[in-house]
Amino acid sequence: MQGSGISVLFMGKNLLRLLGGLWVTLRISLIAVLLSIPLGLLFGMLMTLKSPVSRIVSRVYLEFIRIMPQLVLLFIAYFGVTRAFGWNLSGDTSAIIVFTLWGTAEMGDLVRSALISIPKHQYDSAMALGMSRVQTFGYVVVPQTMRRLIPLTINLTTRMIKTTSLVVLIGMTEVLKVGKQIIDANRFDYPTAALWVYGVIFLLYFLACFPISMLARKLEKRWR
């Protein structure tokens, strides 16, 4: 009665379901990343401004998002908002909001660190060459900042892809949950299925994250 776990993968639509789950994972994380990068760039610049107001506001925002576990934020966005204001956000929307808020905060801090790592003499030299403020920023500071940002952004992106597994707690069946469903539905007949299913999930995550790393490597080479 107890068969080899690998056959579970090819039963019915199991493989397709896993891919469907991966799509949920990727959709949420990639939308959140695409929103976080521009917002994070703005946020990071805001953080380097000298004005005390913008500093305090951005600092509080960053610390708040950083201290709160993403799980708590997800619960607040999904259940808390409905309870408090009666707005019924879907799981998709709440997940994207939370991950964008989180991504913007983290990305902003990366941008800030990249910006302040440009030595002061770069600004001075640009000025000495007669560049305007805009030119200094566009030709000297931004290209160097971008190069520094690539590996950090890739780190953040892959981390976001993996952290989206939390959305299962607000009812979204992403790849990890589909895996668990398959393991559970077959646990009487195929107790060893877990290893195979998790193996496939590992492979799927790898296939999702590896192209992103490759892209980053290409960009880094081109911009050297």
Binding site: T82, A84, G86, N88, T173, I183, D184, R187, P191
Partner: protein
């Protein structure tokens, strides 16, 4: 120095106000729930929309699980399909986890929770339970080579439980000496037991009996612990129209022995001789 002080004060103030806002939000919702500012849907609204939303488990075979074609199956689902059929509406399933079941129904994100939901006093304060359709006690499963047959043997051992289940509250209340290892999901808890991360696993007896049958090397050493609990559908507090309809439905189904048929269709193949249907099934909402 002054500026720094001001800075710290400002931060504290902002964090405090953020906390306050979330706090107020937290209280406000409890009120909307009980005063019933219509975050639930009445039976007529459900019928009109042509769709009922039911929260079920998607990884708890044989009660609620998803088969290889992506379709929901199990004892709870069999009942859910019948509810939808008798209401004349489509059914939409929402996959829930043990710890978020109350929250789903309290916020009106689902109309009914039908996820092996054991009736307890604490839960009854937050949701309205309909008549029961099943009953269970707790069971403890452990490896054959270190079989646990008495609760006293669990002292100073690691007992695996799933967060938000009756097993968690029962052991916390009655056996504080047992150290609990808590997991969010059933699949994780079973893996922990298989890996030997805990000495035993406790949850509803039906659940552990079924699992031990198909996992050689594991036996249910304690099969009836605690008081007999009942399992019932739950709706949002104050949703009386839906509650009354459900109660009538369960009474009517009792006359045709519906839940024995449900047992035969979904549970019998799993439990076989390990359990007697009369010990699990409740017909017409009446527990002897």
């Amino acid at each position: 120095m002054k500026l720094k002080n001001l800075f710290i004060k400002l931060i504290t103030l902002t964090v405090a106000s953020l906390l306050l806002i979330t706090g107020i939000a937290g209280c406000g919702n409890a009120k909307t729930g009980s005063s019933g500012t219509a975050s639930y849907r009445t039976i007529d609204e459900i019928k009109q929309s042509g769709k009922i939303v039911i929260g079920v488990f998607s990884d708890k075979a044989p009660f609620g699980y998803v088969d290889e074609n992506g379709k929901y199956q199990g004892y709870d689902i069999y009942f859910a399909e019948r509810i939808a059929k008798d209401l004349g509406v489509e059914v939409e399933y929402v996959s829930t986890d043990p710890a978020s079941r109350v929250e789903y129904v309290a916020t009106g994100k689902v109309d009914i929770i039908l996820a092996n939901f054991t009736v307890t006093e604490e839960r009854a304060k937050q949701v309205d339970f309909a008549l029961p359709y099943m009953k269970v006690m707790l069971g403890v499963v452990s490896p054959d080579n270190a079989l646990i047959t008495d609760v006293e043997q669990l002292n100073a051992k690691n007992l695996i439980v799933v967060k938000g289940t009756t097993a968690e509250t029962y052991f916390e209340k009655n056996y504080p000496d047992v150290s609990l290892q808590k997991y969010d999901e059933y699949a994780d808890a079973y893996n922990a037991l298989l890996d030997g991360r805990g000495d035993a696993f406790s949850t509803d007896n039906t659940e552990v009996l079924a699992w031990a049958l198909s996992n050689t090397g594991f036996t249910v050493g304690i099969d009836a612990l605690g008081n007999a609990d009942t399992i019932a559908p739950a709706v949002q507090k104050g949703n009386t129209t839906l509650l009354d309809w459900l109660n009538d439905e369960i009474e009517a189904l009792g006359e045709e022995n519906f839940f024995h048929a449900d047992y035969a269709a979904t549970l019998d193949s799993v439990y076989g001789k390990a359990a007697n249907p009369d010990n699990l099934v409740v017909e017409g909402g009446k527990v002897e």
